[in-house]
């Protein structure tokens, strides 16, 4: 059962099946599009419609009064596809994609009678490839079909070869193309013959019903096989393209959702006024990183365009594979490409403008004398308090009262250049000019408190909001005079970074110990052997050259050394630990020179005195 609609074609009323109507409508639209640019379009269309009405009248006669799909197809064949007019009408724009199939030119005249490779869709089993090849090589197509059939069983090469040829060889559409395919010289007589053939072929198609056509066409087993294969292939193609279409659409939709999430959240975690503004683009955030809000929005729009247009393309291709979506039109394609280019331009402008504000780095140094700090031993702490929550998070920055806070500070302990305690600051920032970068560096504030023998340092630096986030950072060095000691409180773990010390101990192991400044650097004042072991840093092993045996004796006592030498195992270890507790060793080291490091397990004290050596080893 089929639904019919009533159509008025050139003033004559027809009943037409719904799908046939669709087809006819589409056909007329294609023609109309084709004549869009020539004058008298309406008149041409009216003429064509009138002729179509006439043809329908002739076809229908009295027996039937509903126009079927078959009728529409026949009429379309008589009137011809616009592509065929193109060859007749338009002499300039028809770019023949079959250029590569031109046979070699055998002189200028020869090309008239030389053959071209086309697919013959009048004498086809599948796509007319074999038939076209047959004409091209001048042999009966049945041999080529047999050849493909044999190749089919050679790992399916025939199958793929056929598909490729089907795709790349153009169909012979116009009379001249059909003649070129057959290699007959193009003259009026031959054109006439071809048209006659075509007409007969057409008549045959019209006269015979489908079943008869099928019987006629399937004269051999091979052909029947090919028709079966063709149906399987068609089905397979359709099936695959539907699956592909569905996955394209799913991918495109997923992409769009991801884009929306990206636009409406954002990559930063932020804390503003102690409230967590997680996952929100705000103008504040934009201002932190971009030179201006407009640059931020430009970049964001650019990103959206660059992402969404390929996604739209994917969606469209998917839809085309799934449904019968009409060809995309030129205007839409062109605007899509221009939007894409616009997006790229936006990103470039926003990117380069923003990047230029990071171009130049400047450093400023500053020394603060800590005159209020008292005592030979000072205690270093980090100001944890309100920011401790912040410290736990992954945030890079947060904003409070027009100031931007960042954890971009590192603290080292060095020898003081003056007699007292001091803080040496190395501030750095970036900007588009030396001046601006320098200004931003100077604007960096560090926070610290001094209370008797306590030094508390904030783990955060702050910069004015207007300075934005421009890779600001501070390297702080606490200078302590030789002979004084610094105690690293547990909280200092947040801020200390790579403190140089004579035992090469790591930062986290230095925490909770007293460190004494010597001429050569920091020495742990209260570490035991297990601390060194914990640090897994090779402990210092010492080969000392002394001026004379006397100085050695006066330092450690020869007796002690000899005793050590005679002891064994655990006793020697204890004795050595006593000895290396380690004021004495420090002194030893000052007198001599460290020649080599060795593993703690092979602790060796090697002292040479005027060529004579005393080896103490564990």
């Amino acid at each position: 059962m089929n639904k019919t609609v009533t159509a008025n074609i050139s003033g004559v009323v027809f009943h037409i099946e719904a799908d046939a109507y669709e087809k006819l409508h589409q056909y007329l639209n294609t023609i109309k599009n084709y004549f869009r640019d020539s004058d008298g379009t309406d008149e041409i269309m009216a003429d064509i419609e009138a002729r179509i009405a006439e043809l329908f009248k002739e076809k229908l006669g009295l027996a039937r009064d509903v126009i079927t799909m078959e009728n529409v197809k026949q009429v379309a064949e008589i009137m011809g596809e616009p592509e065929a007019y193109m060859d007749e009408e338009n002499t300039s724009s028809y770019d023949n994609s079959s250029k590569s199939f031109y046979t070699e030119d055998r002189g200028p005249q020869a090309s008239f009678s030389s053959r071209k490779l086309y697919r013959d869709e009048e004498d086809n089993a599948l796509g007319g490839v074999c038939s076209g090849l047959g004409y091209y090589f001048g042999i009966d197509r049945i041999w080529i079909r047999i050849g493909f059939l044999i190749a089919l069983f050679g790992f399916g090469t025939g199958f793929f070869l056929y598909l490729i040829l089907w795709a790349i060889i153009p169909k012979a559409k116009t009379t001249s193309e059909k003649l070129e395919m057959k290699g007959e010289p193009i003259n009026v007589e031959n054109i006439g013959n071809t048209i006659k053939d075509e007409f007969n072929n057409f008549k045959k198609k019209v006269d015979s019903n489908d079943a008869r056509q099928f019987v006629e066409r399937t004269e051999s087993v091979a052909m029947r096989f090919f028709i079966f294969l063709g149906n399987v292939l068609r089905f397979l193609f359709k099936f695959l393209s539907k699956i592909l279409g569905v996955s394209f659409i799913i991918a495109a939709i997923a992409g769009v959702i991801a884009l929306i999430v990206f636009v409406f959240s954002g990559p930063f975690d932020m804390t503003i006024n102690n409230a967590n503004f997680n996952h929100f683009w705000t103008t504040d955030i934009a201002q932190l990183y971009f030179t201006s809000n407009s640059m931020f929005y430009m970049g964001l729009i650019g990103v959206v365009l660059v992402v969404i247009i390929p996604l739209a393309g994917l969606l469209y291709v998917g839809a085309r594979l799934l449904f019968n979506v009409p060809n995309s039109n030129r205007t839409i394609n062109l605007s899509a490409v221009s939007l894409l280019i616009l997006g790229i331009i936006f990103i470039s402008i926003s990117g380069t403008t923003t990047a230029s504000d990071y171009a130049i780095e400047q450093r400023k140094t500053e020394t603060i004398n800590l005159t209020e700090l008292q005592g030979d031993t000072i205690y270093l702490e980090s100001i944890g308090n309100t920011y401790s929550a912040y410290r736990g998070g992954a945030e890079d920055v947060f904003i409070e009262n027009d100031e931007i806070f960042m954890d971009e500070i590192t603290v080292n302990v060095v020898k003081s250049r003056s007699a007292g305690y001091e803080l040496r600051l190395k501030k750095s920032a970036q900007g588009r000019s030396r001046k601006l970068a320098g200004l931003r560096a100077e604007n960096i504030m560090v926070g610290f408190e001094v209370e008797e023998d306590q030094l508390r340092i904030s783990p955060l630096i702050s910069v004015p909001f207007k300075d934005k986030v421009r890779d600001q950072g501070v390297q702080m060095s606490i200078g302590i005079p030789v002979g004084t000691t610094i105690y690293l409180h547990e909280s200092a773990n947040d801020i200390i970074y790579d403190i140089d010390n004579e035992t090469n101990m790591r930062d986290r192991n230095m925490i909770g110990h007293y460190w004494k400044m010597t001429e050569d650097g920091l020495i742990c004042a209260d570490c035991v052997k297990s601390d060194y072991r914990k640090s897994r840093v090779p402990s210092r092993l010492i080969r000392i050259e002394l001026d004379g045996l006397n100085s050695l004796e006066s330092l450690v006592g020869l007796e002690k050394l000899l005793k050590l030498k005679n002891l064994e195992g655990i006793e020697k270890l204890q004795e050595l630990e006593k000895m290396s507790n380690l004021e004495q060793l420090i002194e030893l080291k000052r007198l001599g020179k460290i020649l080599e490091d060795e593993d703690l397990e092979n602790l060796e004290l090697k002292i040479t005195s005027n060529g004579s050596e005393i080896n103490i080893s564990l």
Binding site: G11, V12, S38, R51, E77, A84, E89, T91, Q109, E198
Partner: protein
């Protein structure tokens, strides 16, 4: 140089000449013209003819009158205008000249 262009141009000129020739003796409506052109093996699809007729009419070479038809919509009967007659004469002499020229050239180069 594309052979398609050359051929299309040749065919186009000849086609116009033939249409005018068909209409020389008496008026005709498109289907009749199509029949004749098909007899003369000049066109493949009918759609080609309508734009051509419109163009010739717009150029003032053809005119038409309407006539009712029993089998469908009213038909346009085309005939030559005076300009069209002149034009056809011109084309006729040009065609003859061309035929001569082609024949002469071909005789001089017998191997082609």
């Amino acid at each position: 140089m594309k052979i398609e262009n050359t051929k299309a141009q040749m065919r186009k000129g000849v086609l116009e000449y033939c249409i005018l020739s068909i209409l020389e003796s008496n008026e005709a409506y498109p289907s009749e013209i199509i029949e004749k052109l098909k007899e003369g093996k000049l066109i493949v699809v009918e759609g080609t003819l309508y734009p051509l007729l419109t163009r010739l009419k717009n150029a003032g070479l053809l005119k038409y009158r309407w006539e009712e038809s029993k089998s469908g919509p009213p038909r346009k009967y085309y005939s030559l205008t005076e300009v069209g007659v002149e034009f056809l004469k011109e084309l006729e002499s040009t065609w003859n000249e061309l035929m001569n020229a082609v024949n002469l050239t071909r005789k001089k180069n017998p191997k082609h």
